[in-house]
């Protein structure tokens, strides 16, 4: 179940207009992803850490999220330097551990962590529902927002249905193994889950029609862009422009 623990709080990041947070997170992520120079990437990481500190989030919980992503990145450090051509730092039998592979892995690590930290600090500090309504006000197409909000609403229901199906199999002594019976059973479970999800989608749509739904999604939420949001908009823009400047100056450690 999605707990949305980061959304609870009253820090400056929590109080910021969610529309500004979405725009800032998007621009920051794209700019970090397309930047190449280490000074820019280190600045992005520092900005990410600063935003998380300002959001007053529990250090342990943020670290836990970072560890999940860095778990995948760890494999990149194992594989990339061995497969990327370049000057060898050391050799493992016939395989060379290359400097260019290490540089690439370091870039990916910095980018991923900076982007993740900014997303935690900016979008993670709003409830998913609030983000949905903010997207609506940013003129994102209605269908994408339905998909977003209704997926969020029904993912729990579908998860419960999956648990029911699994229980139904277990009470009849089903034990997964490496055999055709197991594969077939899981195929049936997944198939049944799709069938049930589709039937539920139809019922939900019918319920929406019964309450006057005619294709347009209206929202109760109205956001106000305050003076402090304006200050934040300038601050975040300044940070992003500084990153752009560093990238443009090609000031690089390597």
């Amino acid at each position: 179940m999605i707990q949305e623990t980061f959304a609870i709080g009253s820090s400056p990041m929590h109080r910021m207009d969610p529309r500004l947070k979405i725009v800032a997170a998007t621009v920051f992520s794209v700019q970090t992803a397309i930047s190449d120079h280490f000074l820019t990437l280190i600045t992005a990481l520092i900005l990410g850490v600063a935003m998380v500190i300002l959001a007053r989030l529990k250090f342990f919980l943020v670290l836990k999220r970072l560890l999940i992503v860095n778990g995948f990145i760890f494999f990149l450090w194992l594989v990339l330097p061995l497969t990327f051509p370049g000057e060898a730092i050391f050799s493992l039998g016939p395989l060379d551990y290359t400097l260019s592979g290490v540089i690439l892995s370091a870039r990916i690590t910095l980018k991923s962590n900076a982007i993740l930290l900014s997303l935690i600090a900016l979008t993670g500090t709003s409830y998913l529902a609030t983000l949905g309504y903010a997207l609506n006000q940013l003129k994102i197409p209605d269908k994408i927002i339905y998909l977003f909000l209704i997926t969020y609403r029904y993912i729990f229901v579908i998860e419960q249905e999956y648990q029911r199906l699994i229980r139904a199999a277990r009470v009849r002594c089903f034990e997964p193994g490496t055999n055709l019976h197991t594969y077939r059973t899981y195929a049936y479970l997944v198939g049944m889950l799709f069938v049930r999800a589709s039937a539920r989608a139809e019922r939900v749509y019918h319920a929406m029609l019964c309450r006057g739904f005619a294709g347009k999604f209206h929202t109760l939420r109205q956001f106000s862009f305050t003076k402090s949001d304006l200050v934040w908009a300038f601050t975040l823009s300044a940070g992003l422009m500084f990153m752009g400047y560093l990238e443009w100056m090609k000031t690089t450690l390597f």
Binding site: A129, V204, G212, F213, H218
Partner: protein, 247 residues
């Protein structure tokens, strides 16, 4: 009954699901008068829910017509205007509550009816208070209990101030106190109600007339007052008591 007082008429409705062979509804005729509280009972698979879906225009009959206050809706557009006046509470509240918070879900109908966000919000808070759901506005819908979900689902429909209220198995899966709460709400409502259930006991306490749905046709069963339940269980079962004690 007065012919002019009919709010909803089903005229010679036939409906069958593809590949099912026998028709679920077979030349069904049924009329509901203004202010009537009607119960519809029938075994599983008798077509009770299908009938409600046909009334709401969610399913189209193979033949026959639905008539609401003298108008015959034919197209989706016609049914849209009917749905502003006819409310349907679904059997499973999870199908009905799709917004993240209770207030947003209750306000969904009024917003669709063209109310401003402030008006919709005000109407929603009022109906939640009327149903004793004060303070539920910002609760997350998926985290509500089964009984709370049912009450909120009822609020989402009542907020639209329907002229007719259809309820599909409203008592399914509820504990005793929520059942009593819903019975109390329904008995206080001054609108036409059609309740589908397979529990005579529940219908006897909330409706005036009970019809059965059998072999694709609606037939008069009895007045709710004439029902008499012999089998019942409760903690004081061995103590002397009258049946009226359960009312």
């Amino acid at each position: 009954m007065d012919e002019n007082n009919i709010i909803l008429r089903l005229d010679n409705i036939c409906f069958g699901y593809p590949g099912a062979g026998k028709k679920v509804l077979d030349h069904l005729n049924f009329s509901i008068h203004v202010g009537q509280k009607v119960g519809l009972i029938g075994p599983n698979g008798s077509g009770k829910s299908t009938l409600l879906h046909i009334v709401m225009g969610l399913l189209r009959p193979d033949s026959g017509h639905v008539e609401f206050l003298g108008q015959r809706p034919e197209t989706e557009k016609d049914f849209r205007s009917i749905r502003r006046q006819v409310g349907l509470v679904f059997q499973n509240a999870d199908d009905q509550l799709f917004s993240p918070t209770v207030l947003e879900d209750v306000a969904f109908g009024p917003l669709n009816m063209g109310m401003s966000p402030d008006q919709a919000s005000e109407m929603s808070v009022r109906i939640l208070n009327e149903l004793n759901l004060n303070g539920f506005e910002n609760r997350i819908t998926y985290k509500l209990s089964g009984g709370e979900k049912k009450l909120v689902a009822l609020a989402t429909v009542l907020v639209m101030e329907p002229k007719v209220l259809f309820l599909d198995e409203p008592s399914t899966g509820l504990d005793e106190s929520t059942r009593e709460h819903i019975i109390d709400i329904l008995n206080r409502l001054d609108i036409t109600i059609v309740m589908v259930s397979h529990e005579y006991d529940y219908l006897a306490r909330t409706t005036q007339t009970i019809y059965t749905l059998n072999n694709g046709k609606v037939e008069y069963c009895c007045n709710s007052e004439d029902l008499h339940t012999h089998y019942h269980s409760h903690p004081a079962g061995r103590m002397p008591h009258g049946h009226e004690d359960h009312r």
